[in-house]
Symmetry: C2
Subunit: 379 residues, 2 copies
């Protein structure tokens, strides 16, 4: 195995694949990066068993400056190899297997020799049978991920809740996540031509890593689903994730259909007030803030309180106030996550009672995006 390549192009591919490589893995060879050098391309692979990423560096693209003089394959210690490649002195570098699995990396006057591993011992990537695929706009999908993944559970006690539930039926795509204290639900319409029907749960961690790879260079994402794996294709890069096994709870009945009190706010303004109130709630044992609504005079007061430190009270400026008076307490951190997911929009908050979950939706589009938060009982 011997090839010469432009470092900048190689580093870009290396960074993509490294997202999947963890130094904490229990399978030693997975701390490595696999290089498959063929006569006209290099395939780079990284994996932590849950996520696998494979990408191609092509000799046809002149920016890559790839010239292969001897095909072959090797697994190199990923973290360390990447440090070396990033610090080499020249624009190009040459990588060659010299003896056994010893690999020489040269650039200018610098020559590194590092111990590699036999690529034949590297696990095979899952194979996905069937040709059904779902095509998505990268930007829309990235937004869907960020709007739902915030509500996945971080606790392993109910593993199924650490994923986002995708229900796809033709052009209807519904994504739901809940940690049982809050829930995020987003609906999008797929481009015409998508006809499959799928019901899968994808680990939140996989989606977070995937969304970091969706950039301007990859306007479209192609998703293919098998029994226990999902494959996302972004240009030259394949991103595999395992699926979570089990049945996702039925979340449709959790969302209240009616409301007794509704408020409308500018999301960033409400976020700023919640952030202030949470300064105090964070200092107290039970992290809650209280919202007191008097609809007759449109008075809405948020308050936070810590016996040791002090208290805060702020009158909120709502765009609309309707319905019954209410006092309700909730975890401000859930509220902050939810509000951030709306960005710079107007939102409607709908309550039914002090102990029932309340919802936040964009005022302009109340059907397709909903955040739900369960209040905290304080009496």
């Amino acid at each position: 195995m011997k090839f010469t390549v432009k470092r900048a192009a190689f580093i870009k591919k290396l960074n993509d694949v490294q997202r999947a490589i963890s130094s904490k893995t229990t399978i030693p060879i997975l701390t490595g990066l696999k290089l498959d050098v063929e006569s006209d391309q290099i395939i780079l692979t990284g994996s932590d068993a849950d996520i696998s990423i494979e990408t191609v560096l092509d000799a046809k693209n002149e920016d890559n400056g790839l010239s292969v003089s001897d095909p072959g394959k090797i697994v190199l210690p990923a973290h360390f190899f990447s440090d070396i490649v990033k610090r080499l002195p020249e624009d190009t570098m040459t990588i060659e297997i010299t003896e056994g699995f010893q690999t020489e990396i040269t650039s200018g006057a610098a020559a590194f020799t590092i111990n590699g591993l036999d690529a034949n011992n590297y696990p095979h990537l899952p194979e996905l049978d069937g040709n059904d695929q779902i095509q998505l706009s990268g930007n829309v999908f990235k937004q869907l991920i960020s709007q739902t993944v915030l509500a996945v559970s971080t606790q392993e006690s109910r593993p199924i809740l650490t994923g986002v539930h995708f229900s796809i039926d033709g052009d209807q795509f519904l994504a739901v996540a809940t940690d049982s204290h809050r829930l995020s639900q987003r609906k999008i319409k797929l481009p015409a031509g998508n006809t499959g029907k799928y019901d899968v749960i994808i680990p939140g961690k996989s989606l977070v890593e995937l969304s970091r790879m969706i950039g301007e260079e990859n306007p479209d994402v192609i998703m293919r689903i098998s029994e226990n794996q999902v494959l996302f294709t972004l240009g030259d890069t394949a991103f595999y994730s395992r699926l979570l096994e089990g049945n996702y709870p039925d979340t449709s009945r959790l969302i209240p259909k009616e409301a007794t009190t509704t408020l409308e706010f500018n999301a960033p303004a409400l976020l700023a007030a919640i952030e202030r109130a949470s300064l105090l709630s964070h200092e107290s044992r039970n992290n809650v803030v209280k919202l007191a609504i008097t609809t007759a005079d449109s008075q809405i007061v948020i308050s936070g309180n810590s016996p040791d430190v002090g208290n805060v009270e702020e009158q909120l400026d709502a765009k609309a106030v309707e319905g019954e008076d209410l006092e309700i307490s909730f975890n401000p951190d859930y509220m902050k996550d939810a509000l951030r997911s709306f960005g710079q929009t107007e939102i409607r908050v709908s309550f039914t009672s002090a102990l029932r979950p309340f919802t936040l939706v964009p005022t302009e589009d109340q059907e397709n995006f909903i955040q739900l938060i369960t209040p905290v009982r304080t009496f």
Copy 2:
């Protein structure tokens, strides 16, 4: 106590004073920020017992928007108070003691009430007697600090070595730091008019904090020294540090007067090569790299080696090579620190033997700045 002030101006002063405030202090009142509100100014004070910072926010400066309706003083929980002030909704805020030490902070519709402490229990700042003072250019002093403080010891076993030794005699200012493995020495000439004679050891940590406060707004630093304290004045801000007690070791005899091998390098180029070599040395138990110099053919090879991972070898490009052949090993991290302190200059490295300390000086000014490193015996 009651005053109104522009938040931006207050936050700037708060940030300065907070450098001295640690949440780890064993004296509870020192986790607080002291506010002395007088009719035409506020004095803000923070301290961790080692360092104390005092600054003034003046009503005369219109940018401060300060209007005091009732003088007074209070100590407020610094970290928490600062979080509140930074998140308030409006450009101005009002702070008022309402009852006992309870303090109300209002801005727009937000009102915080926090528990303060009696300012009479706050320790007094040291008083410096005498009028002798040393005036310095802030930029020159900042550079002197960064060039020496890197060599102070981080170990408390010899506390005196955690400081930088300042010897001032008229217009001669000599600063030395050593952790017994390496030494940094910088000489500067003080502006005419400085006539005092001082010999003090200032904690490295104090100098690091001080240098962060020397900015474009404070072109000059005034230093006043008493028996156990030093006071640096930067514009409106006073920075006090305790001095280290004891005798600093005589370092002048450590610097070799002669050399048997000398090399000249571009500092950033040598730094890049050392960084590459250290990638491997960091993976091995004894973190050393080796320099092999053959003067006849001007061959200089740096190498690093880790039995587990591999090895690196690089031919260095020296501007000049003179004297005897030599093989010498050293800790690359000391070398990196030293090289960074030279910036973008040419340097001369002078060796006497494989076991004796070697020195680095700027080729253009070999008298006033020197870095010394003790090699590591590897045989």
